[in-house]
Subunit: 369 residues, 2 copies
C-alpha cells in the first residue's frame, strides 16, 4: 500500500467499505492551490475528469459530476427521470436498494419491489417474470454492489432483460464502480451512479451520473421540482466544461490524480486488482472456517458472518484500539452480527495478509471464550 499520512487525531487505517484510505499522492493533489471554476484551467480539469469517468463507466454517453455524496446523484436520477405516479420496480437485497425505494416514494412514484433476503442476490429470472406481468413498470432501479451485505447483483443479465422488454435500467454503482466489472453501454444500462470515495480512492464530495440518449429523452420531459440536481441546467454548463454551481475544485484535483492512475492500464486492470484481493481475502477466511455472509460476494468488500455468541462490535473495537485498523459494523438490524471489510481502493495483498492475521487472532480468541 502507498504510504499513508497520519492525522493528529486519527488512530487507525481505514478498511471500511468507503470512504477508503486515500493514498498520499491523491491527498497532495487535492491540496494544490485552487483554480477558478469559470476559467479555462478549470474547464481543462473538468474535461479530463469527465473523459476518464467515461472510461470508468465504459460509456460514450453523458457524465455529470455533482458536488454531493452518492445519495445526491441517486436523487438526481429519480428527480430528473421519474414523474409523479409513474411506476418503478426496485430490486432490493440490502439497505442501498431500500434507499432507491425511499427516494422514489418521496418523489411520488408508484413503487413495486423485488426483494431478496439480506445476504442473497437477486435472480434475474424473477426480474423478467415480474416485468412480464406488469407492462406499466417503466423503470427498474437496482444496485451493482450492495455494501450493506457485500452482495453483487448480475447487472449484465438485468440489462439484457430490460433492453428486451424496453424498460429503463438505473443502477447505483457507487460502491462497485472500478471494483466490480461494469460495462454501461455493452450491458444496456441507461443510467449509472458513482462516487469519488470508493474504488477511486479519492476523498468524498463528488458523485457522478452517467446516462445514455434513451434516458436523456425522458429527462428532457420530466417536470419534478429540482434545481441543484437539475440535469438540464447542468447540461448547459457541461457544454462549456463547467458545472452550474461552484464545484469542489480540490476534490476534482484529487480525483484527476486517482483517475490517471486507474485508467492508465485500463479499467479492466482495476477490476482485476480488486478481484485478486477479494479472492485472497475470501480464500484466507474460508480456509479458517470463517463464514462469509453473502452468497454472491462483490470484489469491493468482504462481509463476515459472526457466530451467534460473538458480538462483532467488540471485535471491531478491539482491532481499532490494539492494531489501529478500522473495519465496519453491520447497519441497523445487522449491527453486531457481521463485520464488513472494505478492500475497494489502492490496497495490496501484503497489507491484507497482515490485517487478516490480526483479525483471525482476535476472532479465534473470542471463539474460545
Amino acid at each position: 500500500m502507498k504510504k499513508l499520512k497520519n492525522t493528529k487525531n486519527k488512530q487507525y487505517t481505514l478498511f471500511t467499505p468507503g470512504p477508503t484510505e486515500v493514498p498520499d499522492f491523491v491527498l497532495q493533489a487535492s491540496a494544490q492551490s485552487l483554480v477558478y471554476h469559470r476559467e479555462s484551467n478549470f474547464s481543462k480539469l473538468y474535461q479530463a475528469v469527465n473523459e476518464h469517468l467515461k472510461a470508468v463507466f465504459k460509456t460514450k454517453g453523458r457524465v455529470f459530476i455533482f458536488t454531493a455524496s452518492g445519495t445526491g446523484a441517486m436523487e438526481a436520477a429519480v428527480a430528473n427521470l421519474v414523474s409523479r405516479n409513474e411506476k418503478a420496480l426496485v430490486a432490493i437485497c440490502g439497505k442501498f436498494g431500500e434507499r432507491w425505494k425511499e427516494l422514489l416514494t418521496r418523489y411520488g412514484a408508484y413503487v413495486r419491489t423485488l426483494d431478496a433476503p439480506y445476504g442473497k442476490t437477486i435472480n434475474p429470472q424473477e426480474l423478467e417474470r415480474k416485468l412480464k406481468t406488469d407492462d406499466t413498470i417503466k423503470y427498474v432501479f437496482t444496485t451493482l454492489t450492495e455494501t450493506s451485505t457485500g452482495t453483487l447483483i448480475d447487472i449484465k443479465a438485468f440489462g439484457e432483460i430490460c433492453h428486451k422488454l424496453n424498460r429503463l435500467l438505473i443502477v447505483d454503482c457507487i460502491a462497485g464502480l472500478a471494483a466490480d466489472e461494469f460495462q454501461m453501454d455493452n450491458w444496456h444500462v441507461d443510467v449509472a451512479i458513482g462516487a469519488s470515495q470508493k474504488a477511486l480512492f479519492t476523498p468524498p464530495g463528488l458523485s457522478f451520473l452517467a446516462c445514455n440518449d434513451k434516458a436523456w429523452q425522458i429527462i428532457e420531459k420530466s417536470r419534478n421540482p429540482r434545481y441543484y440536481f437539475d440535469l438540464l441546467i447542468a447540461e448547459n454548463f457541461h457544454k462549456k466544461n463547467q458545472t452550474p454551481w461552484t464545484p469542489a475544485v480540490s476534490i476534482f484535483n484529487g480525483l484527476l490524480a486517482a483517475l490517471q492512475y486507474v485508467t492508465k492500464k485500463g479499467i479492466e486492470h482495476s477490476w482485476q486488482r480488486h478481484q485478486t484481493i477479494a479472492e485472497y481475502v475470501r480464500t484466507y477466511l474460508t480456509k479458517l472456517n470463517i463464514e462469509l455472509y453473502s452468497e454472491k460476494p462483490s470484489n469491493a468488500l468482504t462481509v463476515v458472518k459472526m457466530p451467534e455468541y460473538i458480538d462483532s462490535t467488540k471485535i471491531i473495537e478491539y482491532l481499532k484500539n490494539k492494531y489501529h485498523i478500522l473495519f465496519a459494523n453491520g447497519q441497523a438490524e445487522l449491527k453486531g452480527k457481521i463485520i464488513r471489510i472494505g478492500h475497494m481502493g489502492l490496497y495490496d495483498k501484503k497489507t491484507f495478509a497482515q490485517i487478516l492475521n490480526y483479525f483471525t487472532q482476535v476472532y479465534q480468541k473470542m471463539l474460545k471464550k
Copy 2:
C-alpha cells in the same frame, strides 16, 4: 498574505469573489488522512465545526452542514420551508437574488418580488410597505451580500420589519458571511445560508443552513419532495454529530483549521479585517477617479465600473497573463462592463497595494487609447 502553494497548471492568484485563494495551512489540513464518518473521531470534528459555525452566524439555533455548493443549501431552505402555493417575497438587486426567485418558482411557490436596479441596494421602507399591503406573504427571501454587483443589503432593518410583521426572513449570506457584519439571532433572521469557499477561505464543497425554532416548526410540517437536503433526516444524524450521507471529510478538516483561525479573536475581528481591506481598496480607487459600481458596497468585494469605451474582459485577461492575478468579470449583461475584485478571505493590505498598482497601470493605459 500567507504563502500560497502553486499548481502546476495554474498561472494566477485568485482575487475572484469566491472561491478565494486558500492559504497553505488550510490546504494542508484538508490533505490529512481521512477519518470514518460513522466513528467518534468524525463526530468530534463535526461538533467542533458546528460550534464554530454558530459563532460565525451568531446564532444559538441549529446549523446543518451539507456536502454541496451554496446553491444546494439555498435549495434546502426552499424545499424544507415553502409548500406549493405559499407566497414568498424575494428582495432582488442582482443575480443571486434572482436565484431565490428561480428556486421558489421551481418549487411551486407564489412569488412576488421587490426589485432594485443593479448597483443599488433595497430600501427597507419599501419592504415594509410591500409587506403591509399583502398579509398573505409568509416568507421574505433576500441576500446579505449580492456578489454580482458588490452590494450590501440592510439585513438588520429587514429583520426588524419581518419580526414586527411576523414574516419569516431567509437570508443568503454565502458571500458575506464572516466578511460583512451579520448577527442572525439579534437581527431576527430565521434562516441563514453560508458556504466554505468565501470569507472562510476553505475549498468549496461544504455549505451551511442555520435556522431558529420558529423556522424549525414550519420545516417539520412541510411536505415538498426532498431527500438529500431533507432537514428532518439531517436532524436525526445531527443529534449524533453526524451527517446522513457520506460527508466531504477532507473539506471538514480544512474548514476546521480555517474556523479556528477566524473565531480565535471573535467573528467581529473577521468583519473588521475585511472592512479595513475594503476601505483601503475603495479609497485607493476613488482617489484615482475610478468609479465604483455599487451605491452600498460590501466588505467582501469591490466592483469597479468601466467607462463605456473600455472592455473589462481585456483588462482581466491582461492582468492574468502579465501579472498572474485573476479578477472576475461581470455576469450575463454586465460582462465586459465591470470588474469584480474579491477581497474575502485571508488577504492583507500589502497584497492589495501591489495588485491595485498593477490594475491602475493597466486601466490608465486603456484610458489613453
